[in-house]
Amino acid sequence: MKEKGLSAEPVYTVLDPRSYEPEVDYQGLTPRLDTLEGKKVAVINLGGGNEEVMESIAPDLEAAVPGCDAKYLLTGHMGATEELWDFIKPYDAVIVGHNY
């Protein structure tokens, strides 16, 4: 609506142009491990350049935490597939990354 203010300059009432995002029910983070010793850790590369850097995380974790069993996987895509979930299931912890 356009109105005349005291200064005679038009005044506009304008509508909000924005969309909205749906509500999301979220859960808290998964409890942390006390230690990585004796644990299995998956290092997942979702795809991107400089693969060597992400690949080096797994052996470096094992070197830093004796008894830690870390494995690296390059998926080459962004999506969470059944195949990926099946890979992750046996592991106690997961590091997911995209090293560009």
Partner: protein, 437 residues
């Protein structure tokens, strides 16, 4: 990765995880240094910490995230106050921005209730009908708008009610929402069918020029919808390194073509109007003027040959689809001289078969080498001449088509009289404008 964009990247990852139902995911930015061959040792304790440090009370919480609804009236004020409100609190970083909140940086037409009501006369659709924006491949997250919200943005852009069906078709395509990563994803639209002329779109000289009201306000509506309806927030959800030259560029096909028009080619009737939407790094280079065959005849003065087009398209590095655009005169000349007359398909097939790379070059392509081989092959499909799992053992000098299929090559006729052609990339999707009338 660590960079000046780190806050933006962390924010995007956080928001993406929240949409998937997990809030406050722990993140470790890693160095953006392409000379590295292994992770620097000081980062390993950070990973260990993220996996073992006990959760805070906040991190343990479950709940419901309720984003604001943005309904109804935004504000009341003078023209200048309206502009400041839409510009909002500018987002700024040391190396990017500032970016306006709800505009493309330009003043907008105040979207009053009266103007929006008038705009809505341009469609028979219910103002409360929902239109969902999903961002690029859904990565921008789901955003819910309505026909009325589209109309609000159309008013802001300066569109007329007659243009609203096209604006709604652009909304259906997802508008310009950008990419939450490094690549610069362009968006381009071509209108085909009688509707383009009805609303005064330009299909002749200066199709990419700046002062055709229909072309420019539709382009602007696309950009505004990307920001306000699609979640394109530069520096937060949209992190393209440079942005694109074609950000909602829109023009009309010139029906003076030696082939069928684009609406017919895509299975519609001649009196049906469509928008061809090009996403995925859509781009067009400037019109080419290559050396003429000779200056003896007007015909031989035409620039370029199909061989030039092939050479140009071969320079693409990550494109599954191509665009060739001709002025009507050049289209008719090439169709006649190079035996491409008839339907568009003949020309498409010729381009598809001849734009090839050596298999060895494909193996070195960034997107081929850095993606998991099986994933790449799956996305390319099997059973075609495209490089796929059947071709693991082919000689490295085997020529393989760059594009998925002949239909990946779009031939557009547009522009004024005289000779010119250009090329680019982009995968088309046809959207019927008429259903939004």
């Amino acid at each position: 990765m660590e960079s000046f964009d780190t806050p933006g990247l962390l924010s995007v990852a956080d928001k993406t995880a929240l949409r998937d139902g997990v809030r406050g995911i722990r993140q470790v930015p890693t160095p953006m240094d392409t000379s590295l061959t292994k992770i620097p040792k000081e980062y390993i304790p950070k990973f260990i910490d993220a996996l073992t440090r006990p959760l805070t009370e906040e991190e343990k919480k479950s709940g419901t995230y309720t984003p604001p609804k943005h309904e109804g009236i935004l504000m009341t004020g003078t023209y200048d106050e309206v502009q400041e409100a839409f510009k909002g609190k500018l987002r700024d970083t040391p190396f990017g921005g500032p970016w306006a909140e709800m505009t493309d940086g330009l003043p907008v037409v105040p979207p009053t209730e009266e103007r929006v009501a008038k705009m809505l006369t341009g469609t028979s659709h219910d103002p409360d009908e929902e239109i969902v924006f999903g961002g690029f491949a859904g990565r921008g997250g789901k955003h819910i708008a309505t026909v009325k919200k589209v109309a609000i943005n159309a008013v802001m852009a300066g569109c007329t009610p007659e243009m609203l069906p096209a604006v709604l078709a652009i909304a259906e395509s997802g508008a310009c929402v950008g990419y939450p990563g490094d690549s610069s994803f362009g968006n381009m639209y071509v209108a085909s069918g009688p509707y383009a002329k009805e609303i005064g779109m330009n299909a002749g000289f200066g199709i990419l020029a700046s002062n055709n009201p229909a072309n420019k306000t539709l382009e602007r509506a696309c950009q505004l919808m990307g920001i306000n309806l699609g979640g394109c927030l530069w520096g937060i959800g949209c992190l393209e390194r440079t942005g694109s030259m074609h950000w909602g560029t829109i023009f009309a096909e010139n029906p003076d073509t030696p082939w069928e028009t684009l609406n017919v080619h895509h299975g519609y009737k001649p009196d049906e109007s469509i928008l061809l939407f090009f996403g995925m790094k859509a781009e067009l280079v400037s019109f080419q003027n290559i050396e003429p065959l000779s200056c003896e005849t007007l015909e031989d003065n035409q620039p370029g040959t199909p061989a030039h087009a092939i050479a140009a398209l071969r320079t693409g590095t990550n494109q599954k689809s191509a665009i060739l655009l001709f002025t009507p005169d050049t289209a008719k000349y090439w169709a006649k001289k190079y035996d491409f007359a008839g339907t568009m398909r003949k020309f498409q097939e010729w381009v598809w078969k001849n734009v090839t790379w050596e298999a060895g070059k494909w193996y070195k392509n960034y997107w081929f080498a850095t993606r998991h081989l099986s994933s790449f092959y799956k996305s390319r499909g099997t059973g075609t001449m495209q490089l796929n799992a059947d071709h693991f053992d082919i000689p490295l000098d085997t020529m393989v088509p760059m594009f998925d299929s002949p239909e990946s090559v779009t031939i557009i006729v547009a522009g004024g009289s005289g000779d010119a052609w250009t090329w680019g990339f982009g995968r088309p999707k046809a959207i019927l404008i008429d259903k939004w009338r």
